[in-house]
């Protein structure tokens, strides 16, 4: 509670703003790779908040969320690359990507309306795989997605002459590509946070929560559960689509490999680990789960060298081992997530004798 008040105060907002502004420059001290990691952290914040609408608010367990990210990414890749020789502008592609992802959300949603929990999870998991396999195989007889090789040389985000790739001089500051993307992503993330907060405290958000809590009671008081579930899928999917577009532009390259099941699971883990349905928690979860594996990647090797003087365990396997262990420990000791909503926290403390 104290934390939330702090973030609402002027000082809190000021400090957060300064920190957000300074971060890419601090990260750059460790090399541009760290700025890119930061970019991905924010991209995942964006994705996790999109999934939070579906899972956290409406309570629909979606294991195929990455499919919508893929739809957005491929929309951008196909319409802004030499692959088809198309170079559409951002204001055309990004809404189109969001729209197509939204449509995919409705397509996924409509056959699953009567399913809940485990059953829904299995169907959405299948849907995610179908999309990935399509991307993998749509290179024959007509080459649409270029199959497993993926699409290269994708246009970066640009507004007129201002490109987000390469270094630009602004007011004597040298801003690298990843740093520019950072600011774009932060702006988008702030937007999605505001939308999330507003949805949560709205008539629609309450209806979603009602469906999550008790679908029959929700129907009985007049909530059209079919439409609202579809709306939740569509909203979540649109956010995924936008994130996918930015991802595509930032990377300059997409291939089906980026949209595997493990990605869906990671995003779901961010939502659950941070604190399902609680926006600050979800943000924390997304940042931690993106940054922690990278910290381990760079940290595990040198630490082994320092302690034992030689590599005992392959750093890559040890990294995932520690990461998995950390997830298990969090769920064991913080079952409601690292930063659950005040209500959830109160309820857990009250439950103790």
């Amino acid at each position: 509670m104290k934390f939330e008040h702090f973030f609402r105060s002027t000082v809190g907002i000021g400090l957060t703003a300064v920190l957000l502004l300074a971060l890419p420059f601090i990260a750059a001290l460790g090399g541009q790779a760290w700025v890119r990691i930061l970019d991905f952290a924010i991209l995942y914040v964006f994705l996790a908040l999109g999934l939070n609408i579906v899972v956290g608010l409406a309570g629909l367990l979606d294991l195929g969320y990455i499919a919508f990210y893929a739809v957005g990414a491929y929309t951008w890749a196909l319409l802004a690359s030499p692959h088809f020789g198309l170079h559409w502008p951002i204001w055309a592609i990004l809404p189109l990507g969001a729209g197509l992802a939204c449509f995919a959300g409705v397509v996924l949603g409509s056959p699953t309306l009567k399913l809940r929990g485990d059953y829904l999870a299995i169907v959405t998991l299948g849907f995610g795989e179908i999309v990935r396999i399509f991307m993998n195989n749509l290179n024959a007889p007509v080459n649409i997605t270029n199959g497993p090789q993926g699409i290269t040389l994708i246009d970066p985000v640009s507004f007129g002459a201002f490109k987000f790739s390469g270094t630009t001089q602004i007011f004597g500051f040298a801003l690298s590509g990843p740093q520019k993307y950072y600011f774009l992503l932060v702006a988008l993330a702030i937007l999605v946070i505001i939308i999330n907060i507003r949805l949560q405290n709205s008539r629609i958000g309450r209806a979603w929560q009602a469906i999550r809590e008790d679908e029959i009671a929700a129907k009985a008081i007049g909530i059209n559960t079919r439409n609202l579930k579809l709306l939740a899928f569509a909203m979540g999917a649109s956010f995924g689509g936008v994130a996918g577009g930015i991802f595509s532009a930032m990377q300059g390259f997409v291939s089906p490999e980026s949209f595997s099941l493990i990605e869906s699971i990671m995003i779901l883990a961010m939502v659950v680990l941070g604190g399902m349905g609680h926006i600050p928690g979800v943000i924390l979860g997304a940042v931690l789960l993106t940054v922690l594996p990278e910290v381990l990647r760079y940290g595990v090797g040198p630490v082994q060298m320092a302690i034992f003087g030689k590599m005992l365990v392959d750093p890559e396997s040890l990294r995932m081992l520690i990461f998995g262990l950390a997830l298990v420990l969090v769920m064991r000791f913080k079952p409601a997530g690292l930063w659950p909503s005040p209500e959830r926290k109160r309820e857990l403390t009250e439950a103790k004798p």
């Binding site: 809590e213 129907k219 009985a220 909530i223 959830r344």
Partner: protein, 253 residues
Amino acid sequence: MSEVLLEAKAVAKHFGGVKALRDVSLSIRRGEIYGLIGPNGAGKTTFFNCMTGLYVPDGGGFVFDGQPLVADAPHQAAERGIARTFQNIRLFGNMTALENVMVGRHVRTKAGVFGAMLLNSATRAEEAAIRQRAIDLLHYVRIEERADDLAKNLSYGDQRRLEIARALATEPKLLCLDEPAAGMNATETEELRDLIDGIRRDGTTILLIEHDVKLVMGLCDRVAVLDYGALVIEDVPAVVQKDQRVIEAYLGA
């Protein structure tokens, strides 16, 4: 405006070979408290579920407020003005008491996704009205001091009241209460009786399923008795109480 608010016409419902409802016809008049009683398994709740669209009847149908009710559309039943509570309380446990009632306003309000995202003045005004109405309703059922508590942490009696407040938030013409006094002690039942009587005086017609015969006979204007899915009698309490078939149904022939 016709005197009859809800008319059931030969409603039938089977579950496999079990005939849960056998051509039940009855009519509820505007402004009355109508009691529906019967032994366990007589089909009372099945009747409720058919009426509120949770079940599709196998035969017959309902006319509500002059128009037929569409089967299999629970959210439309609420929109038409039928609200219900559940025998085993069904609240939104992880939402606060106030939020539970606010959800009840869903069907009478209209802000959509874009309204919520843009938070324009119309949406803000509607949101304030929803909140005010919900607070008023919590006052009405006298649990206003529990407004910010999670519904699942409320006492049993308060949960029953909250469920009624949530149903009232939909502005029903007909409020259906499924065993509201179940598990209540004498004092709580007395308070509930006053609440139900108050709701009727404020102009809402009430359909009451109840096991507490004393409560039903004291409160209802008319009573219908179901036994093995069939309507035994529909009359004023004084007549129903003396009816030989009712006594047999309850005590066994």
